[in-house]
């Protein structure tokens, strides 16, 4: 399977997503005896109605944007990294634990916390990268497994050897004030949102405007031709997976430093999985992924309001997102498993 294959059916994918969101969403609402107009109205209103709600939508956008950008880098290199969840969790853990363990002065604390998360996520991405480069191990299975390992490993570390006395033993200690991200406009939104946007533009430039990006795309779009043109596929896979994991890890660190102010094993409600759909809907193009993140961020934040205002269970949103993932990613996972 080539990266080009992942990107071929962009238009059809958008149609599928719209049908799933509005079609399945409407059916689910009707089953709950709620008019879809009222239900979707509550969802939109809950996502964009007030300053606080807009901020929450953009926070969800940010939390999806980081892992989705990471996923896109791996996918563009032809690597089906579905381990963003694990990479994000590892990044969050490293940020939370180090930030609480080593309080640094203000101007160093935040960079250290974010760098720790980036590094940890990068390492977690590099592991399947090395397995792929050295042993041609299928990265789908490796990354999927490492998700579970990451969650169980951090749970073990937090409750066991690296315990810091956080609440009910499933958290690290609190981050000092200096290590927390500054809030914007007096809302929950932090400048992690701005960082994610800048990152999207930088990644777009890396992919389209550098020789490294050229080699990465060649490896993804036509590996045999790339190999014969002197591109080292193993090295490219390792770099792409490390970079991919690092970006997801950075995302985990911003959740810890921006919202939770500690690492908690329930840090992510599946951002790393939803981000697969976000990356595919965004056609693996960093700028379109920004747009897709806003749309999915809206579903995430509006779902709660929909439950409160219209009485539609917020699980309807999970249902829709789950179906989108199956529709967009399922076929590709099967193709990827067959190709190795």
């Amino acid at each position: 399977m080539t990266a080009a294959f992942l990107r071929t059916r962009a238009f059809r994918d958008i149609v599928v997503v719209l049908v799933l969101v509005f079609g399945v969403g409407s059916i689910a609402m009707l089953l709950a005896h709620v008019s879809p107009i009222v239900g979707f109205g509550a969802l939109f209103d809950g996502a964009w109605g007030t300053k606080g709600e807009i901020a929450e939508t953009l926070v969800q956008t940010t939390n999806l944007l980081f892992p989705a950008l990471g996923i896109a880098i791996a996918f563009r290199a032809g690597l089906f990294n579905i381990g963003a969840e694990g990479q994000l969790v590892m990044g969050g853990f490293a940020a939370g634990w180090l930030g609480a363990q080593f309080p640094l002065p203000g101007y160093l604390a935040v960079p250290m916390v974010l760098a720790a998360g980036t590094l940890a996520g990068g390492v977690w991405g590099a592991i399947p990268g090395i397995m792929r480069a050295r042993f041609k191990a299928n990265e789908v299975i490796a990354t999927l497994m490492l998700n579970v390992v990451a969650i169980l490993l951090t749970t073990y570390l937090v409750t066991g050897p690296l315990q810091q006395g956080g609440a009910n033993g499933s958290e690290t200690g609190p981050l000092p004030k200096a290590a927390q991200l500054t809030h914007l406009f007096d809302t929950q939104l932090t400048w992690a949102f701005v960082l994610a946007l800048v990152l999207a533009f930088v990644l777009r430039w890396v992919l389209q405007g550098t020789v490294f990006g050229y080699e990465l795309r060649a490896a993804g779009d036509a590996p045999e031709a790339a190999k014969r043109a002197g591109i080292d596929l193993g090295r490219t896979a390792l770099i792409a997976m490390s970079l991919s994991g690092a970006i997801a890890g950075l995302g985990g660190a911003t959740i810890v430093a921006g919202a939770l102010h500690r690492f908690n094993t329930g840090l992510s409600p599946g951002y790393g999985f939803i981000a697969i759909a976000v990356a595919l809907v965004g056609n693996l193009d960093p700028l379109w992924i920004v747009v897709a993140s806003v749309a999915f961020g809206m579903l995430q934040s509006g779902g709660i309001a929909m439950q409160a205002e219209a009485g539609v269970p917020k699980e309807v949103v999970s249902l829709i997102i789950g179906l989108v993932i199956i529709a967009l990613a399922g076929r590709r996972v099967v193709a990827s498993l067959r190709s190795t």
């Binding site: 080009a4 071929t8 405007g209 550098t210 020789v211 050229y214 080699e215 060649a218 779009d221 036509a222 045999e224 031709a225 790339a226 190999k227 014969r228 043109a229 002197g230 591109i231 080292d232």
Partner: protein, 460 residues
Amino acid sequence: MQAVDGVDLELQPGEIHALVGENGAGKSTLAAIAYGAVRSDDGSVEAVGVVGLVHQHFKLIERLRVWENVLLNREPRRGWAIDVDAARERVRALSASYGLAVDPDALVETLPVGIKQRVELLRELDREPSVLLLDEPTASLAPTEIASFFTTVGDLAKRGTAIMVVTHKLAEVIAYSQRVTVMRAGRVVASHLTSETSADEIAREMVGGEVPALAARASVATAPLLEVRGLSARSGTSVLDDATFEVRAGEIVGVAGIEGNGQTALSDALAGVAAFTGELVFAGTPLRASDTPASRLARGIRVIPQDRRHEALVLDWNVRDNVALGRHRTLGLAKYAGAAREVIERFDVRPPNPDAIVAALSGGNQQKIVVGRTLASSPKLVVAYQPTRGIDIGAAALVQSRLIEARNAGAGVLLISFELDEIFATADRVLVIANGKFVGSFDRAGIDRGRIGALMAGNA
């Protein structure tokens, strides 16, 4: 797109009718319509009896036995089970009756290509076709096998079967057919009794004008470039065994052989993508099995791979980025567009647009990009593996001319081809490969077609 447009064609029982035309002229589509695999928008096909079709690429199930392949879906039954004895006997009788000797119990994967072709033929003959369509039937046969194949086909015709052979090999048309129809751009442009025409006339009709002449061969001083001693290599199922030869700067060395005789292993070993043992010395220093493709490129060794769609091009990319591939580091992004325009100009790539997506280009234009970017890097050694496969005569002549010009300018060229005519037209020396071994060497002046054909078939 209209692949075939308003074609009238009539096959007579007892006649071998050749259908010729360039790639994309609509021959295979016409055959598929006649067979019933493709629906025509307008017009009709009428046949008395069953129509059979033998594909260019065998459609056999490798893991099954001969009788299982021949009788697939038509197995004689005894109750719920297949009557194996009756099946075996039916295949044996069929093969005896047509003089196509083959063991009904042999596993297809163990058979050489010539025998596989017989199995394909038997499968169609079991249906007792009154019309038999053969699509490029000799593509993977040795010259000697080709003669015996057409003897069989001639016998079939004498029994009253109407036979149509789709081919691009004009020598076979002249030698074996009674009637020939020429197609160009989806239309029939000429129809002759074979006895009343010539290969030259047919070629002109296929191209729609004069066949372009090749570049002149300048006399150049040659110098040692690549020395190969005892090279053994493997790439997938392709195996090369103990090859010793040299390629000098300023000459084209042709490697003549039938597909599947070790050519891929040879090409891949030189490209740096297949492991090898033996001694390779290039411009005075050794090449190692551990070399990366990048290090081969850096030393001026460029390979035009056999499969341009997978091994050479990124089909979803535009012309500009494809022209850069392989030189993308040394050129730098800013120079990609200029490099693309040079190749487009020198190789007459159509459309002449660096932003055109390569997948949308014809095979000939795709190949011009591959050959163009290869020669634009001023290589010392060019390994050209089937550089004109599946492209039209005009594009093929252009590619061959550019290879000759590279030779004239002092490059060494190793031309690996399944088309003897291509090798005879361009090579200074001819090496013959069979069963993974180099079995003969001929200077241009001493080329002996009959001898080369026999060597290719493995008859030393």
